[in-house]
Every structure is written in C-alpha cells, then in structure tokens.
Symmetry: C2
Subunit: 396 residues, 2 copies
DNA sequence: CATATTTAATTTGTGTCATGAAAAAAATAT
DNA sequence: ATATTTTTTTCATGACACAAATTAAATATG
C-alpha cells in the first residue's frame, strides 16, 4: 500500500510546479483530489520544505470576498540543481534553483575531444566545482546533476554504449562519476535532454505527448509519450538521424549509407559543396548558405536537396507516430538553412492524408545553453522523484 | 476511490487469463497482491461468473502434502465473442468463447468491393446473423463484436477516416453499426488487430512491448507499448507502408511517391514485371516468384530490390523504436517472397550498431482467419474491461 | 461598527480497502 | 490417530481518501 499517497503527492506537486503558483482549492480542482486530501498532502510537502505559502500576494482568481486563497509555490531554494552538456570541446553548465530559474551559467573549454573515462569524469567534477566556486556555492549543495552528451546512451543505467567524447565503448559512466561526485548524477542522450528542455521551459509545456527533432551537426529526436521520454528496450531508440532515406545512399559518419544525417548534417552539406568545386565555400555552412541566399544555383540545390530529405524524415516520423505536436528545435542558424515554409509544404503534401487537422509543427530557436538546461530539467525531475519517495518512506 | 480495487480486479483477471489456470496463491505471487486480497477479488469474479474453480484436476505445482491448491480459470462460456474482418470481397467471422477458443468459423462473400455506409453495416449484421444461425446460436448471445478493416481508423471513436470498403470518407461507423446490432462493437485498423492477435494467441504472448509488421497487399504496422496498442493522436499512426523510402520514388496507390508499399506491395512487384515484358508473369506474385526461384535473373532482381526496401523499412523502425521484439506476421506466401536470411542480414548490418543484443525478429505465419481472431481478441479485451467496470459499479 | 455573507482551508468522522496475522481447511506423512 | 504441511479464508488493524461539518478570514451591508 501507501503508493496511492505517493501518487497523490506527485500529482499535487506537479500541479503546483505546473501552475507556478496555485491555491489549494485549485489544486483540488485540477487534480480532482478532494480539498481535504490536498490539505493533508500540502502540509506534508510544506513541512518537508518542498513548497511554501505565498502569503501577501493576492493570489489570482480570488473573488471579492470570502477567505482569501493562499497560493502555494515550489520552494525555489529547496535544492540547487546542476545541468551539464559535454560538447565537442566545451563544457556548458547551468545551475538552476528548484523551480528552474537560472542561478548561474558557466562555460569551460575541454582540452581533448575524446578522452578516457576517468579523465572525463574528472573534467565533469572539476567543471562543476569551478562553476560552484564562481558563484560562491559549495558543490555539496548541489542536489543532483543532469548530464547530457552525444552518443548512444541507456539513461536508466547511466550507461554509455558509445559517445564521441569517450575513448572506450560500453562505459558505466554513472559509476565512474559516482566515484568523484557527491550527488546523484543522471546521464542522458542530448536529444532527449532537448525534449526535456522543451517540456519544462519550451514549446512542450503542458503537452503530454510530442516529438522533438533537433538539427545541429546531426539530427536527433526525442519522443515524449504520456509525459515520459520513450527510450526503447536498450535505451538507444529515437535515432532519427540514422534512419535510412536512400538505399545505398550517401556515406554517413556512422559508417553506413543512406542515413538522414548524411544528407542533412553540416558535414553532408559541406561535402557536397567541396565536391562541386566551383568556388563554393566548404568550411562553413553559414558561408555556404550566404551563397545560396545570394542566388548561387548550386548552393541552392544543395540546401534544397537537404531540405527535401529532412522533410522525408519528418514525414516518416509523422506517419509512424501520428503525433499531436512536433517541435523543430535548434539554434537559429541551423534551422534557417532550411526554408521553413517550403519544408512544411513538402511535409504536408507527403503525409498520409486524413480529413483531420495535421499535427502541429512548431519551430523553436534556442540559445547555446538549451542542452544544459534540459539536463538540469531532467535532474530536477529525478531529484523531485527521489525526495517525494523519501517523504513516503519517512511517513511509514 | 475504488479505482484501486478495479485495478486489482484487472490484475487478477489478467493473471488468470494469462496463466490459463492458476491457484490463488500463485496469483498472489504473480501480481504481488496479498493472498487475502486475492481471495476477496477472486470470490467477486467467481460470483460474477467470469471465472470458475477447476476442482478435480490436481493443479500443477501442487506439493505432496498440505491443502491442495485449487486452480482458477476464466469461465469459457461466460460470454460469446465475435471477430470479423472485412476484406476485399469477403467477410470472415470467428466466434470465440471467453478464453479465446474458437467456437465457429464462417466466411461469406461480399457483393461489392466498396459500399455505402448503411449497406456495409447491414452486411456486417447479416453476416453475424448468418454465422450465429449456422452454429445454432442467437446473435443476442454475442457480448461484443470486434471489427477489422483496412483503412485509416480512429479506434477510440469507431471512426473511419477512409477505408477501401466504404464509399464515403469520415464515417461514424460505430454509430451506423449500433443502429443494427445489439451488442457493443469495436472497430479497428487491421494491422492493429494483427498485433492483438499476436499478443493473445501468437508470438507476442507475455510480451509487454513489441512491434508487428504485416506484409500482404500492403505493409502494415502495429505498435504495442506497455501492453497497449499505440494509436497516435488522431488514431491513424503506424502507417509504415506509407513511410517514404525514396525521394520522388515509385508511385503508390495512395497517390504519393516513394512509399515503402510502392516497392514491396504485390502490385509493386507485378508492375515491375509487366514493365519489363520478357515473358514474366505479371498477374500473380506467386507465379513471378516461381520464375525467380527457377533462376530468372530479372525476376530475382525484382524480389531483391523489394527485399532491400523492406529491410530499409525494418531498419527505420528499429532505429526509431529500439524495440525488444519485432514480429513479421503474415501468410506463408507473402513472407516467403522475401528471402528471410538475407533480409535479416541486411537489417543487422544497417541498424545502429550497439554492443547490446539486437532486437529479436520473429517470423510468424498465419492462416486466413488471423485478422478475424485478432478482432475477436480486441473484443474480448473490451468486453472484459466493460464487465469488470460493471462489477466495480455494482459493488458501490 | 456589528453582523451577515462568502469563500478557503481545516478538522472530524466514516467507509473502503489492502494487508499481516491468525485460524481454518484439506490434504499427506508418521 | 496425530502431526505436518500447504492453501485458503477470516479477522483485526491501519492507511487513506473523502464528505460533511467546522473554522478562518476576508468583504458587503445596514
């Protein structure tokens, strides 16, 4: 038994986090838990320091008379949470409070692109330490660290099948980090973390089911079904970038042929440009794009074909999942390369035709720290789960 | 409240159905519900007539001494369930008892390929009536009808966006059927029903997550996640057959280009054969296959390309879902056309490479009535849910 | 300014339910 | 015949959600 209470606690807490601030009676309405139970549960959460009352403010929705409703909020300073993204040559770190507000941002170069396991673990540790020091916090105050990196990762086990940042394959990275860090660490694939970021801070707020597609050097996908990230059996699903769009097609950096990434990734675009010769820049996609924009037919055709391939990938995702919402997420530049309107046109005309509204496709431009914030969001979730479970244990 | 009891009832019932016959104490072990609660719940189910005790048999696992365990089974004659598949020109119907044993099989031609809504509803009604009459049962004894047909269908609403069997688009077929049939009807896409059939009677028994791919005239897919069929937002997901495998590719009967089906479907194979001329048969895939088998290089290349495209589709499914199990399901013939070993070879070499066991791929040959049995399985599930909900209501 | 009214939150009592422990049941072993 | 073993049922307990009643805290009203 006792699990029903735990689920109640979760529901109430999520309602509060979701609403930002909300009176007990509205929690009752939102969760359809009785006011009596809401009182019981909130008083627990209150005394555990996870939430707090927002006294003076006249909570919104309050009527003219009657006892004023007192709003509850998640206690922002309950825990300090860290999110980290390991990129090619750079470590980005954010420290968030428990409601997800940024406390501090921090960036640090990484000496090598590819490192030994313990070495990278140390880099992570030192980076977090430095970040904490820089904002005069103690690393031991950090209640949880979310860590994102490229590669094939089984998040459940903090296990890395392969990552461009690690020399070894099949690494128990969670264990390696546990040796050097005091707080629980949650490792995940970077595309999943973008999905988390969208869910908590972005276009996915309030949505229970959606798909996030990221376009950077590669193409990534995150699948959210029923508020949860779908990970597959071995934890390495959602590899849209290595979905095949052409039989015996272009060579991909994964060593196989015909992957979507091999047509849409930046290296794919540059490869085309370099083959053609004719004075097209082939060291920067932005430069190549400038040529296309200026009217160069060859450059244009390169982006056009990539766009069509991307559309194909999107169509396949939609035909398979019939999602409610697809979020194209990435930095401004990477998304601009593909003419959005034409892309949507292609997608619309190639999707299974049904007399029902098409899935919504939203484009979302993110800054540099999206990945790290997603990692932090993931950690916030995990820490919340831990703390509420603790509460349930203590009550017993 | 009271939902925990309902969930308990479901768990217990599923455990019984799953095990075929099982003693209370083993139900307790299997569900980790206490023996006390199992007693309470089973006595309810018992008095509702959903299950029965299997007295005389020495239930398996019983020890030498001690009170003998008495096994429980689902009461086979609790309800009569019908499953029906509307195919091109044929109606197949099965009547199953409540444990899924076939009571009667029945087939009837359909006059037209494509009909008006009410006309088709009448065909369904008359078919069911005839089937019942043929085995001396009353149609009113049928507690539920599962109905499968090709097309884009929102099963939740018994709503048909489009079907080759219906003249109209966007049909409230559930409502049309309710007017002429006394029992609840559950309509679904045929690929989903194959998934149901696999889950209840086939290779999916005991699996919580798997993907079924059917190869017939078209290519279909059913996705089972957490024991439930994934349907997408509008109920028209899992359209693997119209996934694009070639930019600007071959014309598909859906009017678009490059669909997987346009390379793998039977009409696609015959089209190739007919274009080439050279005395290849182009009216029967079986005949074409005989040529290939006999060594005809052109015929071979037709099947080979189709096989490669099919492999591509499978690879994409695996890369996206990272499933535990994929079931290739269909009639013997349709599967034989594609050399199984080579297909698997292609799939293995094109899937994202991880040092973890590949998803299992099982091939399952089915007879003609698979579709109807899947429909019946779907109805059994739905009726069970209804009856247990009724029980919960009555208890209140 | 006292009192009514209104709305929110809390308290109280009740009923449901799962469960552990004890008892009963039903067999075999001695 | 009695002990032992194993399954099932009964019983008492405790957790919990909730409806109803109560309290709290504000505004409206005369």
């Amino acid at each position: 038994m006792q699990d029903q209470r735990e689920s109640g606690r979760h529901q109430v807490f999520e309602a509060i986090r979701n609403a930002n601030q909300i009176a007990r009676i509205d929690i009752a309405k939102a969760t359809s838990i009785s006011p009596a139970s809401v009182t019981a549960i909130t008083s627990e959460l209150l005394s555990a320091g996870l939430i707090k009352e927002l006294h003076p403010e006249p909570s919104p929705g309050s009527a003219k008379r009657g006892r004023p409703r007192v709003a509850l909020t998640v206690c922002d300073n309950a825990f300090l949470i860290a999110g980290m993204k390991i990129a090619d040559r750079q470590l980005s770190i954010v420290l968030l409070d428990f409601v997800g507000e940024t406390v501090f941002e921090f960036t640090q170069p990484i000496p090598e692109r590819r490192m030994a396991t313990d070495e990278l673990a140390k880099i992570v540790r030192d980076g977090l330490h430095a970040a904490c020091a820089a904002c005069e916090r103690n690393m031991h105050d950090v209640a949880g660290l979310g860590l994102g990196m490229a590669g094939l990762i089984d998040a459940e086990r903090n296990y890395i099948y392969w990552s461009p940042s690690l020399e070894a394959r099949n690494v128990e990275f969670g264990a390696a980090l546990a040796k050097v860090l005091p707080m629980p660490v949650f490792v995940d694939n970077d595309a999943n973390l973008v999905a988390k970021a969208e869910q908590h801070f972005g276009e996915g707020r309030g949505e229970t089911d959606f798909i996030v597609i990221t376009i950077e050097q590669g193409v990534g996908m995150g699948i959210v079904i029923g508020n949860k990230i779908y990970r597959g059996e071995r934890g390495c699903g959602a590899e849209l970038g290595h979905t095949k769009v052409q039989l015996e097609g272009a060579m991909c950096r994964c060593g196989q042929r015909g992957c979507l990434e091999a047509y849409v990734g930046d290296y794919a675009l540059l490869r085309e440009a370099s083959v053609h010769g004719q004075g097209l820049p082939h060291d920067s996609v932005a430069a190549l794009y400038a040529h296309a924009k200026a009217g160069d037919a060859t450059a244009r055709s390169i982006f056009e074909r990539a766009g069509r391939m991307l559309a194909m990938g999107l169509v396949n995702v939609i035909n398979i999942f019939d999602p409610k919402l697809v979020i194209l997420s990435g930095e401004q530049a990477s998304l601009d390369f593909f003419d959005g309107d034409r892309l949507l046109e292609w997608v619309k005309s190639s999707v299974v035709q049904v007399d029902a509204p098409l899935p919504e496709i939203r484009v979302h431009h993110w800054g540099d720290l999206m990945w790290a914030k997603g990692a932090a969001a993931y950690a916030i979730e995990a820490v919340t789960r831990l703390k509420i479970k603790e509460l349930s244990r203590d009550a017993a």
